[in-house]
Amino acid sequence: MKPVNQKAWLLVAPVLALVAFSAVIPLMTVVNYSVQDTFGANQFFWAGTVWYEQVLASERFWNALGRNLIFSFIILLIEIPLGVFIALNMPKKGPGVAACLVLMALPLLIPWNVVGTIWQVFGRVDIGLLGSSLALAGVDYNYVQDPVDAWVTLIVMDVWHWTSLVALLAYAGLVSIPDAFYQAARIDGASGWAVFRFVQAPKMARVLTIAVLLRFMDSFMIYTEPFVVTGGGPGNSTTFLSIDLVQMAVGQFDLGPAAAMSIVYFLIILLFSWIFYAVMTRHDDDGAKGG
């Protein structure tokens, strides 16, 4: 029998405590709220599944969910290929490496609300560099009034903010490929595409799994940037689930419905994250027995 080392429990205990306080206990509280009604003063009344019925029948919820899914889909469609393309073109050795890495890391260091403020001003038609330049060029652009312009602004902003994360992760995968792989490919007379398809892409697959998961979860939970730039408008055109949720919980103080919506939101994120993870790691353990 293998010796059992109980010290491991001691080492994971701080993480368990942290996760319990920051995630598990708040989540339990949200579940408790989702089946009750409150008018404040810490008084609660049993409501059963009423809030879930309300959320699932609400057009407002499905519209926000649809917007969120479309936003995340567009973000992944742009950021993943663009990040890989940038990583492939970044220098692998020499003095340019450090400069490139610093430049790529810069957008990641800026807090979300500052990014929102930068783009909120940048896109303004009266004083913003982007907005006024487009106006001078005769482009009819106004993210405050036009839903399409608002969406384009949010997407470009997210691409600007987060593509470098994908690029850095893909770059980490690329630099871990030994030179011998490239030499073998050269000897075989492999084309650039073949090198990418059979050498670089498989080596990047793991880090790209992380990149897709991180970008999906982040873009699906996006709140600060659209809140600062568009505030969910014009109309409700950029009201994503998180913005809707905050409006419901903090603006309207409907804690029960907001909690039910949070649970549904959480389950959807869990489901999509699992699907991405399962699809991207399905070939990892080919030694497993058939069922």
Partner: protein
Amino acid sequence: MTLAWMAWTPVTALFFIGIACLLVGMSVWIRLDPRNEPRRGVLGLVTQRGDRLFLSLLGAAFIHLAWIGLTPEGVPLWGGSLVSLVYAGLVFRFV
């Protein structure tokens, strides 16, 4: 310290005790029967018991949501729980 701010109800307490019992049960099961080799099931995914429990719980949550959203008013929720049990059985057998 009082837990009033967490707004506990007997029903939600039972729900979480149930989840905790499932986790403890899984730990006991692996002690009693350590044969937990990964296998490739009908979904083409490699899973172990823990993965199947996760899929069962996640599926059960969505089955209950679908039950609430799709059945007419007055249909008891435990109908969804029965479907979830059958689903969990299928997941543990075939996935």
